[in-house]
């Protein structure tokens, strides 16, 4: 999976960080970090 494909599946305006009952959208920096981790994890499953 590429970052572009991951972003298409998980657009920034639809990914939230939740604290108790409050949700907020990610900042640009948080979103890019989150995408990179998600792409890495998706492309490196356990053997």
């Amino acid at each position: 999976m590429t970052p572009e494909e991951y972003k298409a599946l998980n657009p920034q305006n639809a990914v939230y960080i939740q604290v108790d009952d409050t949700e907020r959208l990610m900042t640009d920096e948080e979103y890019e970090t989150w995408v990179a981790e998600g792409v890495y994890n998706s492309n490196h499953p356990l053997p």
Binding site: V15, D20, E23, M26, N41, S42, L46
Partner: protein, 178 residues
């Protein structure tokens, strides 16, 4: 007089009986929609040394993922090891030393979120340890041991999915009576 664990309608429980209840529900937190991580505050206190965290219901947007765990705002000093076997019984292991979270504390699949996490001493000023398991929705089952190697006292934790987002489900925190 009520006699635990069998109670009858209208029975009066004594303080001694209530004080012998071993597991007490501390907090229930619903998971929202399209959520990458959930911070649960007010989970740990001086009332209990040891806790049980459960996750049930809900789903992850991408199948075959797992939940990871952090305490407070700490992003270093975590150690974990998971011994797992693919459903065809090939035993392997995964882990991390002095990393930013404890991985493999629960399952995040498109049909369910599941976790059953034992936590020792998160509020005490000593190391925090964790035991959990993963029944992965694609190909393996494993058991995880985790350690947070510091003496910080925590009142909150963060559960996150390793890829995609979570929608629905419930996080419950129980305190185990000292």
């Amino acid at each position: 007089m009520a006699t635990p664990p069998d109670f009858s309608s209208g029975a009066v429980l004594t303080a001694a009986q209530m004080n012998s209840v071993g597991l007490w529900l501390v907090k229930t937190q619903s998971i929202g929609s399209g959520v990458a991580s959930v911070t649960v505050t007010g989970a740990f206190s001086a009332d209990y040394d040891n806790y049980l965290i459960t996750v049930s219901g809900g789903a992850n947007s991408i199948d075959g993922n797992v939940l990871d765990l952090k305490f407070g705002a700490t992003v270093t000093g975590y150690y974990f090891a998971m011994v797992y076997a693919s459903w065809n019984n090939v035993v392997q292991a995964a882990g991390g030393a002095n990393v930013g979270r404890i991985d493999y504390v629960g399952q995040a699949g498109t049909q369910s979120l599941n976790a059953f996490i034992e936590v020792n001493s998160p509020f005490l000023t000593e190391n925090t340890t964790v035991r959990a398991s993963v029944a992965n929705s694609t190909f393996y089952g494993g058991t995880t041991n985790g350690l947070l190697k510091n003496t910080t006292s925590y009142t909150s934790f963060i559960l996150a999915t390793t890829a995609g987002t979570m929608t629905g489900g419930t996080i419950r925190v129980y305190g185990m009576r000292n």
